[in-house]
Subunit: 63 residues, 2 copies
């Protein structure tokens, strides 16, 4: 399985948004995340970096 963790990057820190993300779907300015366990979160953010080696998806909050 290849789920990744989603984080907000802010001030050089990473804040966990959701673990075991299996899908990421931009919807206008929002992004919908769904985890392996069916948990859903919609965030007001943009994608900064996806790193599939380290299973990380880094988001940046919209300002």
């Amino acid at each position: 399985m290849c789920q990744s963790n989603a984080y907000f990057a802010q001030d050089g820190e990473e804040e966990l948004i959701l673990e075991d993300v299996i899908s990421v779907k931009p919807e206008g300015d929002k992004i919908q995340l769904v985890s392996l366990f069916g948990e859903q979160k919609t965030i007001d953010a943009k994608i900064r970096f996806i790193d599939l080696i380290h299973h990380k998806i880094i988001f940046e909050k919209r300002t």
Copy 2:
């Protein structure tokens, strides 16, 4: 390993952009893709959907 294949979605078809993508980095309106084998591609597109179960990253060409 969790690399995914990158595709353009167009007219209900999927056109392969790059296999075994390990990183995706938006840079302004462009997106830089890097594969496990070091191949790099920069595309003028936006992310439509990331499906980590099926190892697919679907892009939409900017019009």
